[in-house]
Symmetry: C2
Subunit: 309 residues, 2 copies
């Protein structure tokens, strides 16, 4: 069974890692959101791709969810001493990723090629793909003006109230590799990443939505008990008038796209409302605290997806 | 007395530090060689300026002579893990310098402005100036072909035999700040840096030589007992047919430029031959092992230069 996962950062990376323990590497493609990508200190930074890569490579920092386990901060301390920008934290090892990526992009390689090459060196076996080789920055219209994603997310700790999420128009084209993986997919897994700012930018990349909608597609709700497990998903959904629940997630993705939604057992009572939308609902343990949790959730998603397909 | 020092890396930086202990900051300008500058991993790297800056700031690594005391190597280890280039060592703190310099240059600031701003943050009080704001790369014609300076110096540990040193033609223009400092100088000090690849690129920058020649100018020989205190000065002089001695240094700079040459006491016997060229010769303790040595040599150079001027 060929599986394609659409994923943002931390939560998505955990499920992607679980999938990678169960699906043969040749059959798994993880498509990462690059709507968060930005340039900082002259470097091309891809936060979600890096979180996915580090997590798949088994070197992610488990405490923070981003960055590299055991990384150090000598460079940041020196940048601070120079009075340089410190709002976006760059670990010393992490900087190597940005330096090499930036250098190779500047030499004309695609982000797809660079991501594959860096991942290979770290031992990532599944295909990790950026959604597009073109820049496709997500912008947010907020009560403090229009902000680039990282300005809002890291720079202002996602506090400004969001009126509207602006994805690039016309949409960026998906890479050939992304299109080919989706065309071959037996199952599309939408990871429990932020639907609005992590998954939507991938789906917005043309023609990802159409290809995903044509195939069995299962999402995992990132909303549990009315809250996001992590990050601004609940806050954003509320600000944009969506119900902050698995039902809200199901409505947002819609029955045209989704065949099934895995929701946390704590929200099991909402399953009938989701099914009423024409989307199968499966309550399960979705909170991934351990490696075993990740693998178990991946197993549930794969087994259920196989039956739905 | 307004003093301008021309300096390359390690040896030049030591004397510059000594001078900075004795000369009021407003009266001292250190002009650094940028012929070694190069781009690496997309970063603008200025090895001699950095050694001068770190030394003047009191944070240089004393064991290596270059880099920052106590710097760490997490980024380099990660670059190695990625299979990236490791021939040029970049410490984690040192990387901050290159990142901020590169970013500010990319935003259109001059190297002069960036160097001043970075130095100020580190507490450098004397004026540290790049010889030019234009790239002025030194190239070496060798038995392994034409090499950029760092390819030869670091990449091949200065082993290829040099037939010819190629400085840019037409010469790069000195910055306004360099010209103004030289015009106001009461004494020009040529530090015990490599005459051929550290000092010559500065003198080649127009109109540094003419301005230095018009003023009292004292050099310190980097050759002691037929050997370079450090680095390839002796090897290079021999390969280019120069006598490897203070007399060879005196002949190389010439009486049109130099009023005096400080040579090591170990070479005192050659003083008459140097004076026969029309260049005053002063034997002294030139080997700078300690901070006290640096200050003492600076004091000798300043006192003697004042009398020669």
């Amino acid at each position: 069974m060929k599986v394609v996962a659409l994923a943002g950062g931390v939560g998505g990376a955990k499920l992607a890692w679980g999938l990678a323990q169960l699906v043969p590497a040749d059959d798994l493609t993880v498509i990462g959101n690059t709507g968060d990508d930005f340039r900082h200190l002259g470097l091309a930074i891809s936060p979600d791709l890096d979180t996915l890569m580090y997590t798949l490579a088994g070197i992610a920092n488990r405490a923070t969810g981003w960055g590299i386990e055991g990384d150090t901060w000598q460079g940041m301390a020196m940048i601070a001493r120079y009075g340089g920008p410190t709002w976006f934290q760059l670990g010393d090892r992490d900087l190597a990723t940005h330096l090499l990526r930036s250098e190779r992009l500047a030499q004309g390689e695609t982000l797809t090629a660079v991501t594959a090459a860096l991942g290979r060196q770290l031992g990532v076996e599944a295909a990790l793909r950026p959604m597009s080789d073109r820049p496709a920055p997500t912008r947010l219209e907020t009560d403090e003006g229009t902000l680039a994603f990282q300005e809002w997310f890291v720079g202002r700790r996602w506090q400004p109230v969001v009126d509207r999420i602006v994805l690039p128009e016309p949409p960026a084209p998906a890479s050939d590799e992304v299109v080919a993986a989706l065309e071959a997919a037996d199952l599309v897994v939408i990871a429990p990443s932020n639907p609005l700012v992590s998954v939507a930018p991938i789906l917005h990349t043309r023609p990802v939505w159409e290809l995903a909608a044509d195939r069995p597609a299962v999402a995992v709700s990132p909303i549990v008990g009315g809250r996001a497990i992590r990050g601004p998903a609940a806050k954003l959904m509320a600000e944009l008038g969506l119900e902050v629940s698995p039902l809200g997630v199901a409505r947002y993705y819609g029955a045209d796209l989704l065949d099934g939604l895995v929701l946390d057992s704590a929200d099991g009572a909402t399953a009938p409302d989701i099914e009423a939308l024409g989307i199968a609902a499966l309550p399960a343990a979705t909170w991934m605290r351990s490696d075993e949790d990740r693998v178990e959730l991946a197993r549930i998603v794969l087994d259920w997806g196989r039956r739905l397909g």
